[in-house]
Subunit: 217 residues, 2 copies
């Protein structure tokens, strides 16, 4: 199993909060300079030529830094970009089909929103799970109901692979997320659209790293 440090501060780009394609690349640049460890391209409303042009700019930025670029939903875009990974939801291509398409070496992430979905994860196919939404989020209109701290803990207790918490996550929640056993925190609005995305990411990353060093986590 790959070292899950790339999950520490997982940035999911939001086209609207970032102000479009150029804003997404600039947000990624600043966030990674601040400490984001992974970047997901997610733009459900975009046509694929735009996914490709934005993804190419992101890859050019991230590859030299060793920061994984993960493509949401579209395995074809992931392959066309030669991206580092693909992230799928429960209603997207099933994990077996997604893994067959992207090959054995790319990262495959899967969203889970309950203990039951976590128990169904096949860790021979999936590299990491995104668990959430922990709290209500306005940045994903089709999200499942919020799990809360109890739901997060119950799901993480049975995780068969590294897990990143997602959904409404802000700085003060990071210690509890780390204590719950997550391998990282995924953020959208805590970085995208912030006045200083670099500072926001840096503060989140410092807080996460400190929380992970607490005894018992």
């Amino acid at each position: 199993m790959r070292n899950p440090d790339y999950l520490s501060l997982y940035l999911v780009l939001d086209p609207e909060l970032c102000g479009g394609e150029r804003g997404m690349v600039e947000t990624a640049r600043l966030a990674v300079a601040g400490g984001a460890s992974c970047v997901q391209l997610r733009a459900p409303q975009w046509e694929k030529s735009r996914w490709l042009s934005c993804g190419r700019a992101l890859k050019e930025l991230l590859a030299p830094l060793g920061v994984p670029l993960i493509v949401n939903d579209h395995a074809d875009v992931c392959l066309a970009l030669d991206a580092d990974g693909l992230h799928i939801g429960q209603q997207d291509l099933p994990a077996a089909e997604a893994r067959a398409l992207i090959g054995p070496h790319r990262l495959l992430g899967l969203s889970v929103s309950s203990e039951q979905e976590m128990r169904a994860v096949d860790a021979s196919l999936v590299d990491y799970v995104g668990v959430g939404p922990v709290f209500a989020t306005p940045t994903k209109v089709d999200a499942a109901p919020a799990m809360g701290w109890g739901g997060l803990a119950r799901a993480l207790a049975v995780k068969p692979c590294p897990a990143v918490a997602i959904g409404g996550i802000k700085l003060p929640m990071l210690p509890q997320i780390a204590a719950s056993g997550a391998d990282g925190a995924a953020v959208v609005s805590a970085v995208c659209g912030q006045p200083d995305p670099r500072a926001a990411a840096a503060e989140l990353r410092r807080c996460w790293d400190a929380a992970r060093q607490q005894p018992g986590t």
Copy 2:
């Protein structure tokens, strides 16, 4: 170049007009019994697990009949289904990327909406073009402006590969479409949602075949 007879009556399934996944498969079954020569799965609002389940049912129906199943937009779904082809628009994955993903043997179709776009088609990558919309259509909200008969004729005059006309096409238009030099007609609402899709397809196919046999076409 493959014999373009599969383009004669090209059915594009519409989830709303057909009444969902089961209605799409049933519409395809009836339309092919009537004479549809090709079926495209197009469901821009669907998540991919649904593309996959509907596509599998369509493939099970169509493969034994030798009727090509073509997937709109999503090369990953096309590959996961092992479908016969992929259809892309001008804003989707570019033809070179699409061809690289689907391999040399699957059909690749491309939408063109002007003589200029037709001139830009690379027939070493693309098997056929869909030219249109010839007339205004309510079944594709992001369609380009209607080309009319003059625009269709100008585009077809420079086609580098077989071409199927699409967009608001009804039975009485078929003779003129054939006379314009198209290799087929693509229909949505002329079959999907009709009281008797089999009879509708049969009438369209008879009319098309008759029009193609006219001198000078």
